[in-house]
Amino acid sequence: MLIGIDVGGTFTDGVLFDGQAVVTSVKQPTDQQNLKTTLLKVLDDLLTASAGAKIHRIVFSTTLVTNLLATDSGDKTALLLLPGPGLPLDTYRLFNDTFFLKGSVDFRGRELEAIDKAEVEKAVDAIKVRGIKKIAVVGKFSNRNSSQEQEVRKIIMKRDPQMEVAIGSETAGQLNFLRRIVTTYYSVMTQSTWEDFASEIEKALAERGIQTQVDILKADGGTMPLQISRSKPCETVFTGPAASTMGGKALTMNPKNSVVLDIGGTTVDISLLIGGHPLYASKGATIQGHYTHINAFSVRSIPMGGDSPISIDQGNINVLSRRRGAAACFGGDYPTVTDVFNQKYQLGIGVALQSSQKLAELIKGTGIDMETLCRAVEDTVFNRIQEAIQEMFMEWENEPAYRVWEVVHGRKFDVEELIGIGAASAAIVPGLAGRMQVECRIPKYAAVANALGACVARPTLALQVHIDTQNKVFAIDQDGLSGSIPAGRSFQMKDAKELAQHHLVEIAKSRGMEQYAGEAEFYLEEQFNVIRGWDTVGKIFDVGVQISPGFIEEYQGVSR
């Protein structure tokens, strides 16, 4: 048995899944003040339903870190930056308590300017005076040479052993200093709250005598062990949409170009599956308006859903965003989007008569007839969703390209099907698919697709290696790994790929996910000759390898 729990903003969904069918599902309102309580309540309900059957795996997706970041309520954190030459320093002054230090390296990892020990110590003292106990140290090009960041960390620890320090190269090793700053800062800021949460969950599970594997869903639609997540709190942001998208993918299991529409009471979340693969946000997860190095799905949210109330204002028919309660067919006072579709297509949702009655009350005396009202609301709903889908395609098709091949071959997204999940999708998605002349799937278990997506998602891991054979060094964008390459023989792409693969396997082992290492695929293979004068003096390789989002081995789709 598998358990998946998605702690959402309004509701928490949980499923008990036997590998082919959902045995039980649970829905609870989320207590924002106490996510742990909600989570455990849902867990207990599922455990009760399991009636002692063996639980192989539990996966959680929670809004804890997302909320911390949205409300800026993490731990106070100082930033020590080593920006070197380039953009003005103000560009990097994104947060309070930012200090700029001497020291810089260039794109090939050469030191341009040394750090100044006294300056670092002075900064540490100033940070202490401000009552701050956490420091993020981030250098420009620290992903190519992390020694200055490490040196600064040593100086800090020596000056004040109580300080908690994280460095950029170990947190976010991809190119982009701005995003490295943001990612490292937010990681430090949320880490202890997340660790406390992880400990509490572990304790609660121990109390219940559960010794099974516990994983956390990540923003990229993959999972990681709870233990590993302790040092990577930021990867747990925006996992709600990731859970839904993975759910949509799990319930359809086809390699089509699909649009996943998660239509709930107040929002429509849209994500794309391109040939079955989820589309990622090209600039990473955006947190508080800042781009990050956190790999996240590209999701567009529209503040509109099944519970969006309908109003008529001076002859204008409007779909409002603020929820006023359930749809009339479920006993609500105001007619909503769901009621309109219920009326128009005779869907028989809830008490259908109440939909008709409330809508009739609404149009009374306005001179608008029922058919006009329904058509206008449907048009509004469809247009908003279609516009958002169109924008997502355009954005994807127009993403910058850096190779001739990519430009020549272009990108074109032709939708083949809409996948509707979430409570209100059955009312809205079929009509929309008809209008767009594409197939429509409202899969079985669509209402709990998010929790199901979480429980069958497999671990993911992506790493990129940068190898400089002239300088005989390599650096990996995960965990600050780096090393030297053997001298005295010619290094080829084949060797570069082996190096990348080797490290992927090692990291996979350390995360208890080695059984998926065989699924790894290379997504980047770049090679440059370093020429000085007319001689080749070395090569630079950039190789990327990843275990992409997918499903655990035992999952083969739900039974019909």
């Binding site: 090009f141 190119l175 995003r179 190779r403 091949w405 020549v408 000759n529 020429i531």
Partner: protein, 449 residues
């Protein structure tokens, strides 16, 4: 404030040859620098996706022998097309200005293209300029070529066009490829003074170049009043460039861009891939986007490293005075030329294609038209190492050409193609109608773009 448009197209899968300066590695460290800085994430920058230029965009300015496809690779179409994307973004007002940071380069490519010259096959700026004229009705455009090499291709393409001001400053042709760009080269008889060359002595520094900018380039632009300014942004004036001997710095380039304020910049040469390009490109982007660049410098830069000699300064001051005078008497000279020359003005020249080892012989006849820049007849023969001897006959009607010139060129094309002739290919480039014809004589096969 509108953002600056940027296309970064390093063509990581295209090179002239593995160890050639125009190779994949050229913009690698520039990529590292601009990606690491995170400048594309700033609201001041809007990044665009490249596209391929149409073959017609190329036929509008070049006579490609035997046809467009023979002279280009897909990389050329993308590089040229990227400039067009930036041009569209600027003209539509989506951005305040734009930079096509692209390769392969183009400013040595000339009207008739038999092969690759100076790492260039087709001229990105010329293609963009005529595209802007055709699509948006622009007429007067200035191109300022800041590459260390004389932009001989761009000069040749607009040699007879009084509405295109071409200004090139570069290392003196006596000491550097392509060996042209002297002060006497001032444009054709009907476009005199709209070509201005500033050959600078080797080791000219920021000070010398800024003197030229302040006292010649900017005043001339002021007087010419172009509707759009293009910077052919070569970066090989840099003190570390391996192919030239100048002493310009990244700060110097950035300040130049602030002062010049081009609407569009297009990357040209620059082969100091590791010590100059990452910093110069950052400097240009920052200057165009209005971002403070005082914190930008090369790792080995020191403000006191290079000093302009007083001898150099005297030379430059004299040069500037001469060229300012030449520019200011252009209308007078053109009027005199109209009286002096007969109906057709004829000249001959030889062109060498260094990269491909081609020798070309050319004769040009220009109609001394009273109403427009005049149509041209170019007869060219070239010995190509692979294709052997090619003789071609080319007719070019300029943008804003008059109906007489258009009709006469059309008739010449019909006469030539209607009978046996000694040319392998006959071309008609009618920019007014935007129709581009070519005839392969042996097969009597006409292609129309």
């Amino acid at each position: 404030m509108k953002p600056t448009g940027l296309i970064f197209f390093p063509a990581f899968d295209w090179a002239i040859s593995p160890t050639h300066p125009e190779r994949e590695e050229r913009l690698l460290y520039t990529r590292d620098q601009i990606f690491e800085e995170g400048i594309m994430d700033l609201p001041q920058i809007r990044e665009y996706k490249p596209r391929m230029a149409e073959r017609k965009d190329i036929a509008r300015v070049h006579f490609c022998v035997p046809d467009v496809d023979a002279q280009i690779t897909e990389a050329h179409l993308v590089s040229a097309g990227s400039s067009l994307v930036i041009a569209d973004a600027v003209m539509k007002g989506e951005v305040k200005n734009g930079f096509a940071l692209v390769r392969p380069p183009g400013h040595h490519a000339m009207t008739v293209a038999h092969g690759n010259r100076g790492f260039c096959n087709i001229n990105n700026e010329a293609i963009m300029v005529e595209y802007l004229r055709k699509k948006y009705g622009l007429r007067k455009i200035a191109i300022v070529d800041t590459d260390v090499h004389h932009g001989d291709g761009t000069q040749e393409m607009f040699w007879h066009d009084p509405d295109i001001l071409f200004i090139s400053f570069h290392q003196d042709g006596r000491t550097l490829y392509p060996g042209t760009g002297f002060i006497e080269e001032l444009g054709g008889p009907l476009a005199y003074g709209s070509t201005i060359n500033i050959p600078l002595p080797p080791r000219t520094t920021d000070m010398g170049i800024h003197y030229v900018l302040d006292n010649l380039v900017l005043p001339i632009l002021d007087e010419f009043k172009p509707e759009l300014v293009v910077n052919s942004a070569g970066q090989d004036n840099h003190y570390s460039d391996p192919l030239a001997n100048m002493c310009f710095s990244a700060q110097g380039y950035a300040i130049l861009n602030s002062k010049l304020a081009p609407d569009i910049a297009v990357l040209e040469g620059g082969y100091s891939v590791e010590t100059a390009l990452p910093y110069v490109n950052m400097g240009i982007i920052m200057a165009m986007a209005g971002i403070d660049y005082s914190n930008l410098r090369e790792p080995d830069y020191s403000p006191t490293r290079f000093k302009e000699s007083s001898q150099n300064m005297q030379y430059i001051e004299k040069l500037v005075a001469t060229q300012l005078a030449n520019f200011r008497q252009r209308e007078e000279v053109i009027a005199r030329n109209r009286l002096e020359h007969k109906k057709m003005y004829t000249y001959y020249k030889s062109i060498f294609y260094d990269t491909d080892g081609i020798h070309e012989e050319q004769s040009t006849q220009l109609r001394m038209c009273e109403h427009c820049a005049g149509y041209r007849v170019i007869e060219s023969s070239a010995q190509h190492p692979r294709w052997g001897l090619n003789r071609v006959y080319c007719l070019s009607v300029p943008s804003y050409g008059c109906p007489d010139c258009q009709a006469e060129a059309q008739k010449l094309y019909e006469d030539m193609t209607g009978s046996r002739n000694k040319y392998n290919y006959v071309y008609l480039q009618d920019r007014v109608k935007d129709v581009y014809k070519s005839l392969e004589s042996a097969l009597s096969l006409e292609t129309v773009l």
